[in-house]
Symmetry: D5
Subunit: 117 residues, 10 copies
């Protein structure tokens, strides 16, 4: 169902000599609750150390927008985004951190690590 | 006296390939002081790395509400919640952190760690 | 149903020469949602300029606690508290401001003024 | 095109004796840019002094959600929401304040007043 | 019982041509609760527009310290300090604002105005 | 030298029935110091109540960018922007507030009001 | 003793058509305590509406520095700076606000207004 | 001179299975300067991992109050409190952190660790 | 194309006995987007442990300004600045952290480490 | 030129049993720029673990004041203060951190460590 190839594009890492970290923060992530159909909102933070490829920013934004009309559980959607980006970039390390807005008086955050430390 | 089976439900961990962290923050925890019968208030933060099971959010909220009319000492209630969740989830690691509201000019926090490192 | 005489006590205004303002802030107000039975939480701020009487602080705290098990709509409970205190104190002016915790992504505040402007 | 009757419901003002103010804050408002089709996000604050009717909170939330797939210019959508609520509630006074998220390095806020000053 | 003459000293207003405002903030005010003998703490803010006299800062600090061992109700002590300073300075206008630390989950502030506006 | 016609565009005010306020905040304004040629930076806030016309946001952004290579004194540039927008929009009221970044340990703000009240 | 002519320079107001406000904030004001010789520190905020003249910023900075080695009481120095600038600029209105750093647990602010109203 | 036995009481650790951390924050600590007799103020934070005993909160509060009239140097009093609590509780680890209010423009903090690292 | 020799100057490290860290924060970095020609803005933080040379501050400022009219991708420009400074200073360790302003609802940070840890 | 013996005094460490940390924060450090003669300002933070001696607070304050009229480069003065205190106290470990106020849009911090890591 999730086909990131429709959205995500890459460019070649401009610095092969030296490891470095890229952090991309999306405070405007929104999807739908699969149970109620009501909108959910989250702040999504991607950090990764590139290998040969970097994710292109505009394509990443469109990928984020592609969740707007999909039903997605908190834990599942965060893991799915991590898997998509790991498959795309084969990064040296990667972390996805999602902070979902309060529902029923409860705040939920999910953090997925790939070779993170 | 505490019977979490009345409230807590689980669902299967959607990601078995990769370890990740779930954080659930409840700023609206309230119970009663066993000495005076007066209400106490706390912000409760649960963090855990799931094994085969995750705690279902709505059932967790009801479990939190179940303390509303119970008398509970700060140190004891935080440990009891940790024991209930460890028994339920058998998590890879887990932490409960409770920040109790000021009483008599004094703020009390309690932190219970399970295989936390 | 609300019988503030069970809780609220007064003492004589210690300063008759000069008008002044008393502000009493209760960040730990909680009641129940009349529709769902689930707990609601609010920060309640009372401001008043006393006439002949002031409200005694400990009795005010117990009055606040008396809402813990009652079902109360946001708009109605704020007005009811205002009416109780106006009847008790006959103040020169009075304001009640209630800030309810977020529910369904929405924050609600209610402000009742008595001879305030 | 906007038909608020599909969403908005009212209940009778519980306090006719005394004027008071209701404030409803929606940090999760989202619509689409009519030019680009890209999502826009805003924090929407409604304040009003009720006359005979109050807006029911759950119906208000659904009304907010109804903008999720509509193209809406900042200035026009804020005015349209104001007109819908004024027609529904005939309030003694009303204010809508929308704070749109940054686009192109620029933040835009729109404030509509009805008998406010 | 309160004898401010033991502490408070004045100096001549250095600017008679032009009205101006002096604000003196004391975050370290402490007295005793007359009921329980337990310590109370407050932040005290004095604002005044001098007439012929200004209060000397070191003497004001000692006057503040003189409450350390006295039992004082919130409303009464704030009014007493206002009266002492009005008698001492005969100011064009004066305001005392006391913010008492939380007790029993309740914050209390008291504000006394003299010809303030 | 300043020719706003090269940048600024307008659209028709979508609400003629009711007065309302538009606020446009630009944290990324930069120009050059006429004395030293060194860059200056400011946060520029425009507020106005539209008459028949509103300023189009993208054209406003380009107008802001047009100052990037111009030498401009703080007081003069803020007034010039106000004059350009007043000539363009003939607004019911307008305010420009510029907060310049610290230079030599000193922060400078300039506020220009047009029928602001 | 204070000779502002040694420091302060002016330039002609670039906007005679329209009244506007200039605010100059100096967080690095320092002088000496006349009693103890110890350094005092303050944040000084000047606001004025120019008439025919504006104060030149670099000269204002040097004027501020000229207090570094002078003994100055809080109330007196704030009034003296106000008088110097009023004599220099003959402004339509002017305000000086000085926030002195804490001494002996007490914070002191002084505000001088000229036609500020 | 310090006799904590007059104040401090203990209760049995309710959780022997699992190590956990207790943090008790006292923003209202006050003592006297041994040189000048003037009051000092501090925020005191105790953290410890209990062994067989926990400190009872109300007795801890009274112990804190017992310093109100004692002359105490910053470094010495923080160490003394640490020694008293270590003797009382024989904790698995303990830390005392004291943040003293500014005096003469200087802030002083003292941190004592027991098996903390 | 980048010729830092036109800007950057050094001075001899004043402390050869002891390692220490220098941090230089530039909140006013601006360059151009190579795709659109529109300005980008960032806060740039350099940290380094000097070897024999330190970078002179005024020359560093001019080097920062030299990017004002250049097109530069986020990832590339951060790496280029790191390489220039490493070549200039041969530091014991060095880190560049760039926080770019939001574009399209997305914040991007880039961190380059050299022997950092 | 720097002769700390004129200012700095010590007292005997009151706790030989146990290592602990002392932190002394001076937000009011000021010296002169050796190039321009203009004042510089910094917040200076000293942390150290005492050996046999502690630095006396009042003498430390006077030592800080002694830089008021001296020309001092950022990197050099921070190292000089570290050397003076290391020679005076022979501490088990020590850190000096200086945060200089912004100059030319650039903030500079310097951190010197002695046996710190």
């Amino acid at each position: 169902m999730s086909d990131p190839n429709n959205y995500l594009e890459t460019f070649e890492n401009p610095s092969h000599n030296r490891d470095y970290l890229i952090e991309i923060i999306t405070p405007e992530f929104t999807c739908l609750c699969p149970k109620t159909g009501q909108p959910d909102f989250a702040k999504l933070t991607l950090k990764y150390q590139p290998n040969k490829l970097c994710v292109e920013l505009k394509s990443y934004k469109l990928y984020m927008h592609s969740f707007r009309d999909r039903g997605s559980f908190h834990e599942a959607v965060t893991n799915m985004i991590a898997e998509d980006l790991i498959a795309l970039l084969n990064p040296k390390k990667l972390q996805i951190h999602a902070e979902f807005n309060v529902r029923g008086g409860i705040y939920t955050n999910v953090t997925v690590n790939h070779k993170w430390g």
